[in-house]
Amino acid sequence: MDAAALRHEMPPDVEGLPGLLDQLEAFSEAAGLSPGAAQRLSIVAEELAANVAMHGTGASRLLVEARREGDSVHLLIEDDGPAFDPLSAAAPDLDAGVEDREVGGLGVHFVRRMTREAAYERRGKVNRLTALLDAG
């Protein structure tokens, strides 16, 4: 098996997220990602997986794949729930003060800011979210 690749299939529930993060940390170490890149990969994957776990009613499986190619990390999140594009969420108001600040939309904000590219595609009965991140 390629040490710099991860394929992790899990039921789409919140209880599965710590196991996913353990797998991502092990992958990041094996793939030689910088601490910052490892953090960004874990956050992007957790936000997207948590999105499916908490809102993807009807999904029965969740697949997370990551692989390093040179200075890039390719991430794929796939689920069989109803069609939903997580990238369509509104951006949060980053200038609001502590009283007004809401955290809604922060997850997708991280996905946008921490990836070079991210794209959603509905393929057959599957949601496919692909993202490209820096390895350094």
């Binding site: 919140v14 209880e15 997220l17 710590p18 993060l21 601490p35 910052g36 490892a38 953090q39 960004r40 874990s42 956050i43 957790e46 936000e47 948590a50 776990a53 949060p92 980053l94 200038d95 609001a96 003060g97 502590v98 009283e99 600040r101 955290v103 922060l106 997850g107 904000h109 991280f110 800011r113 921490m114």
Partner: protein
């Protein structure tokens, strides 16, 4: 997530260790909110290697509750990767951050 409590004068220090993520957020939130009943609180994050948006939500709730109660709430000792998460989310502007526990206690 492990949380150790220390007392520095009138301020409580909550030393967090582990990941502050979707899975650990509920218990961490409960603990921090109960500690705020005792007055000012500093969350020492030096042993926290990971914070997701669920973790930020916990810190925001603590900051809001502190505001309501009229007590201080700050964080200290952020690892560089965690600090980046604060900056990208704009949380560095709404939650006071200090380099060390001593500076956090002095600033409260």
């Amino acid at each position: 997530m492990q949380i150790a409590e220390h007392r520095e004068g009138a301020t409580t220090i909550a030393a967090l260790e582990g990941r502050l993520d979707t899975a650990t957020a509920p218990a961490t939130e409960e603990k921090l909110l109960s500690l705020l009943d005792g007055g000012g609180l500093v969350a020492d994050m030096s042993e926290v290697r990971y914070v997701s948006s669920a973790g930020l939500r916990v810190l925001l709730k603590a900051a809001k509750q502190a505001r309501v109660k009229g007590v201080s709430f700050s964080v200290c000792g952020l690892q560089p990767a965690v600090r980046e998460v604060f900056e990208i989310s704009g949380f560095d502007k709404i939650i006071p951050m200090h380099a060390t526990r001593a500076e956090a206690v002095a600033g409260t």
